[in-house]
Subunit: 384 residues, 2 copies
């Protein structure tokens, strides 16, 4: 009995123009377009293997070594779409095995601790959708496949490309034009680096799905953000990427992070993702840019207190120097020669700021989903 | 040699619809109208005595027992206006002593620690302007005098009335229609109470004057706030006061506090006044209202982390009960019989939240500036 398998890796992406608000909940259609940088899979990636065989009677899912329910509406929406596309192929060519009718085994692992609080659903759904589209030998391109990933988790669609990626919100009600597109490949602007400060937090964040619905329903400032602020910023940020204009890109990135957290705070009840440590990091980055007389580092915060600091490689000694000065006690510095960092600065902050950070992840712009020789399933199509 | 003296007290006011943004810096003309509740002078007030005499060659100022410079442009603007009005009187009636030509001695004291971080400039400028207008026997009404106080500190104009006060932004370039008006007197809605949680903070806040200029210049959401959000809320909040509709008043108060802090966060660089303790207090109040199934308590935060919680007297046992449960270790509870408070609730928060609060001030809606027998100056017109 033949077991068909496929594996892929998929990256994490961190938005620089934020997705916040759905105009259609079940299709994950956003109220605004967004932009992200795809991060290197050397540091953060999901590996997903899928297997199917005539003998598999049901779909099964294992995440990080544990079997999980596959019946979430979002996962089902992805599988339904992928099977529908496979059916089209099988109908055109009757010699193809009827994979669409068989059970799917999906095995997925992250190379980073989920405890880090880094949104892993984007990489997870991207890997799931890409692995199955490979297994099914689907002819659709990545933008097409991204529409399926979008139904799993909105921001997952942006993880289907490397480099600099936009999610065009589209205008159609059925969502067929709401998909990821490449703004620029990694080699257009390869020296973009990112330092992720994983910020400890005692409280449970408002989940982003319910948080964004609260904002859409209650924030008076939100309508202005999506109608006026973001559309202009979307065009400007794409251009700043094409121009490799870090000062502009960084300015827009920081402004959009703050705008997003503003409409969270303007919601009723208000939603807070930034904590006191996040705020101190924001002040540090502004102080650094002030000291340098130009924007050489840009923070952005998703729906949680973790800071992602983007910078260009040529400014690494200054940007990481500042972070090393205050966060050298946290783990994650081993890949850096700290003697080359410039820690000599007049910038001050709470000397105990490092206590609010559990680790630093040093990474950079990266590729989209990759083929891999690794597999998480054995000959029987079960987790190894 | 005759020494003329006058004394007054003036209250603190806490805005429920926030003043944030100037359209004219030197005249302190705001970008939006605002509303406040005047607080009782039993708990928070400035006492100011003024003296003048032909022998006084210059204006002098003593604040809380310490001589201070009187040459701030804001203080000078107030004194110039008041002297001009006195000149008008003296020109009409030549028998009047020429007080407008003599030096002024101004002695002012607060009955609350300035360390509490409560904006005392409103009460301070209100008392200064009212005391001098009494000394000069000016015929102008409080709304007229409020325009002079406004030049000292924008929000000071609202401290010229008791009860519920609006500051109508006006439309004229010279500011002559930008003044305080009474929305409703204290006896219209006398059972409004306020608990002020003085929140400790390690960092220096951005001064409100520079903060609001940053917001006006850089926040993309701010224009929407002043053009669309506040004008609607201004009418609704005045109506909620006239209707004594606490649920509506409280909802608008909380929303406007959050809207104000949102545009601060949307500024570049972002401005943060709420800290982690402030956020926990916000969550507590929402949890209480949720538990009660209606809004019985409403928080508001000015340009700092202190929380002011408004509630009606009939809900005191519940509102103060919740606060007492978590903040009974801080000072300020002595005027309350805590055995009458309802501390039995399922609402939870960080059990160490009280460590972020230095004291609680229990107060209520109060009167405008009051005549007083107390005087801070002696027979020679010098500080006692």
């Amino acid at each position: 009995m033949t077991v068909y398998t496929a594996s892929t890796t998929a990256p994490v992406n961190i938005a620089t123009l934020k997705y916040w608000g759905k105009r259609d909940k079940s299709l994950n259609l956003p109220t605004n377009s967004s932009i992200s940088v795809t991060l290197s899979q050397n540091d953060l990636r999901t590996l997903t293997s899928v297997a199917t065989s005539e003998s598999f009677t049901e779909d099964k899912l294992w995440l990080n070594g544990k079997q999980e329910s596959i019946n979430s509406p979002r996962t089902k929406a992805c599988l339904d779409d992928l099977k529908k596309l496979r059916v089209e192929l099988e109908e055109k060519n009757s010699s193809l095995p009827k994979l669409s009718q068989w059970g799917l085994h999906i095995v997925s692992e992250n190379n980073f601790p989920t405890a880090a609080g880094l949104a892993s659903s984007a990489a997870g759904f991207a890997a799931l959708v890409v692995a199955i589209s490979k297994l099914y030998k689907l002819p659709q391109d990545m933008s097409e496949i991204s529409k399926i990933a979008r139904k799993g988790s909105g921001s997952a669609c942006r993880s289907l490309f490397g480099g600099y990626v936009a999610w065009d919100m589209g205008v159609k009600e059925n969502g067929e034009d709401s998909k990821a597109i490449e703004v620029a490949p990694i080699n257009h602007w390869p020296n973009m680096k990112a330092a992720i400060l994983v910020v400890s937090d005692d409280k449970k964040d408002t989940p982003s799905t319910s948080g964004m619905q609260t904002t859409v329903a209650t924030s008076d400032l939100f309508q202005w953000r999506i109608k006026e602020v973001v559309p202009k910023r979307y065009e400007e940020m794409k251009q700043s990427i094409l121009d490799k204009d870090f000062a502009k890109f960084g300015d827009l990135t920081m402004k959009d992070s703050n705008s997003f957290h503003s409409v969270c705070l303007d919601s009723s009840p208000p939603i807070f993702y930034l904590n006191d440590t996040s705020k101190k990091i924001i002040k540090l980055i502004h102080a650094l840019n002030e000291q340098e007389g130009k924007i050489i580092a840009a923070y952005t915060f998703d729906a949680g207190p973790n800071a992602v600091v983007y910078y260009e490689e040529e400014n690494e000694s200054k940007v990481l120097g500042l972070l090393y000065k205050f966060f050298n006690k946290v783990t994650g510095w081993d890949k850096i020669d700290s003697s080359k960092l410039i820690t000599d600065t007049d910038i001050v902050t709470d000397p105990e700021i490092y206590k609010g950070v559990s680790r630093i992840i040093l990474t950079k712009v990266g590729d989209g989903p990759q083929d891999t020789e690794e597999s998480l399933v054995n000959d029987q199509g079960l987790p190894k």
